[in-house]
């Protein structure tokens, strides 16, 4: 028994507090679940609480929803699933690679090269757009390519000034999350629209939304996976290196299998983030690739107080993540998430 275990009365007070919080947590979820089984009359007639006692449960809301006579539920559900799974899979893969590289390899980026990138990207865009009168989309692409190649080329030169190391790169990745997403969502929408004018359709497409989600999940993935890789014993990898196993085979054959729990947890956290995301989907899609949160949010303005139907729709968005919470809590107990905050 640990010294910190509560004794006597304190224990029961803590239990009472926890039960109170549990009631507060579960009541809304319970409420939405039972409301989805009520009939229209049962909802308007005032609150009822216990099925079979207070009211007769009915499947009418679910039947209506699943028959598809009220909006394109199947399409939206499938779109959400495809985007969610592929975005989190790619983000976890790409992010793990970057996180591994940042843990095991040395990176040195000269501050001047980084500044050069920003200056050339801005200047190039302004010059292309205002002086050469090239369209916005092409100006952005040219400016980006010029800035990138100049920055990479300049990093080979001997430049004075401070040098950024691995930790600075990690900080740069993570700091992307500090940005208010409205800045990015709005600009991305305009940029996608511009790209559409030169024939690259990105608004309301699979590629457009998934790409945005991958980019915005990468900071979290890199943050979580870096802590995870750092905790792995390096001896195994060193032994493989002595045998001249190439680095990519060490990564795929040794490191990834060892970090399976971390990869799964990171994947699920990313999936929850993408599945529930609202702002980007609101800006970047309008019909074909609309995701569940947008459809669910729209229920309210379309239907007013038809709570039975709204509840069923909301549950479709909630249930997959609830199942995931059950799985995630196992990882939580294994202490995986401990590392993430150090």
């Amino acid at each position: 028994m640990s010294v910190r275990t509560l004794k006597g009365n304190g224990r029961w007070w803590a239990l009472a507090g926890c039960l109170l919080w549990l009631a507060f947590t579960f009541f809304p979820l319970y409420w939405v679940a039972i409301t989805s089984f009520k009939t229209p009359l049962g909802v308007v007639g005032g609150p009822t609480y216990i099925p079979f006692v207070d009211f007769q449960p009915s499947l009418s809301a679910w039947r209506e929803l699943l028959s598809g006579e009220r909006g394109q539920f199947y399409n939206t559900f499938i779109a959400s699933t495809i985007i969610g799974l592929s975005a989190s899979l790619i983000a976890t893969a790409v992010g793990s690679m970057a996180a591994y590289a940042l843990v095991r390899f040395t990176f040195r980026v000269k501050l001047l090269s980084a500044l050069l990138f920003v200056v050339v990207a801005f200047g190039g865009y302004l010059i292309c757009y205002n002086i050469f009168r090239i369209g916005q989309a092409l100006s952005l692409i040219y400016a980006f390519l010029a800035a990138l190649s100049l920055a990479v080329a300049s990093s080979r030169l001997r430049l004075p000034g401070p040098v950024l190391g691995n930790n600075d790169i990690v900080f740069w990745f993570v700091s992307q999350r500090m940005f208010p997403p409205i800045v990015a969502a709005f600009a991305l929408f305009l940029m996608y629209t511009e790209m559409g004018k030169i024939g690259l359709k990105l608004v309301d497409t699979y590629v457009g939304l998934t790409f945005a989600y991958i980019a915005f999940s990468l900071p979290i993935v890199i943050w979580l996976m870096r802590d995870f890789f750092e905790a792995l014993p390096i001896e195994v990898e060193e032994a493989a290196m002595v045998d001249n196993v190439p680095s990519w085979r060490i990564f795929i054959g040794i490191v990834l299998p060892m970090s399976k729990p971390g990869l799964i947890a990171t994947f699920m956290i990313t999936l929850a983030f993408v599945w529930n995301e609202f702002l980007f989907a609101l800006f970047l899609t309008h019909s074909k690739w609309q995701t569940l949160p947008i459809l669910v949010a729209g229920q309210n303005s379309q239907r007013g107080d038809e709570w039975w139907a709204i509840s069923a729709a909301a549950l479709v968005a909630i249930i997959p993540m609830v199942i995931m919470a059950g799985i995630l809590s196992r990882f939580m107990r294994s202490g995986l998430l401990l590392g993430a905050i150090k």
């Binding site: 910190r4 509560l6 304190g10 507090g17 926890c18 549990l22 947590t25 009541f27 809304p28 979820l29 409420w31 939405v32 909802v43 308007v44 609150p47 992010g95 690679m97 970057a98 940042l102 390899f105 040395t106 865009y125 400016a143 980006f144 990138l148 990745f173 992307q176 500090m178 208010p180 409205i182 800045v183 990015a184 709005f186 600009a187 991305l188 305009l190 940029m191 790409f211 980019a215 915005f216 990468l218 900071p219 680095s247 929850a272 599945w275 529930n276 609202f278 949160p293 669910v296 949010a297 309210n300 909301a314 968005a317 909630i318 993540m321 609830v322 995931m324 919470a325 059950g326 905050i341």
Partner: protein, 291 residues
Amino acid sequence: MTRNDPIKHVFIWPALLIVLVISIFPLIYSLTTSFMSLRLVPPIPPRFVGFDNYTALLQNPRFWHVAWTTSIIAFIAVALQYVIGFAVALALNARVPGEGLFRIGFLLPMLVAPVAVALIARQVLNPTMGPLNELMTIFGFPNLPFLTQTKWALGAIIAVEVWQWTPFVILMLLAGLQTLPDDVYEAAALENASPWQQFWGITFPMMLPISVAVVFIRLIESYKIIDTVFVMTGGGPGISTETLTLFAYQEGFKKFNLGYTSALSFLFLIFITIIGLVYLAILKPYLEKHK
């Protein structure tokens, strides 16, 4: 120990490129647009206007009102999340009976889509058909305007934020509590320190670095709030619960006033950076004292 191997470029460039493209493009685009007068509806040709968009915003009382509303929601919600989250984490760490069940239950709200939460809140808070109304009627307050009167609506939004994000605080603080060493508490128990003294003398100071980080993350995230407000009140009544992100959405997507919206999002970025820096500056002496 890090090593050098050309293959490192293969590992890092995919992630680097994706984030660069998605972060630098919008940055260039919106920063340049913020200095221009650009409208899509009605279409007028872009014109360089310098800081006009910024000064117009700073003189717009609606901007200050929206910033104030967002701050109230963020600060009160995060304070409540922290206090409740810490209490629950302490209880779980002290092996309250049924702790395993609580852990799964407490995690749940975090994973529910905020729009779904807001829709549930609208049902529960319905002034005539909702269960909360029935409860309040028993106490003699029938038909309270939960979502249609400013103070109640702000309270409702804060309550929903607390419901949804306290689990995050619990998760992080619980992980932190589990890393604290046992021997300090054993020594304190020998000295007959009361649980109250142990908390303020040992637990709280040792948890300070994690607390600072958790509150910081929650504060920054809370300032971004849109989906809950969008569904629950739509910013109403009037504009009294409108938040910064919702304001930007209205200006950009309803009025298509692009220059103005870009300037707004950058002011938002500056605002949030200042708040983050002030927060860290205030807490720095305490953090160093306990190191």
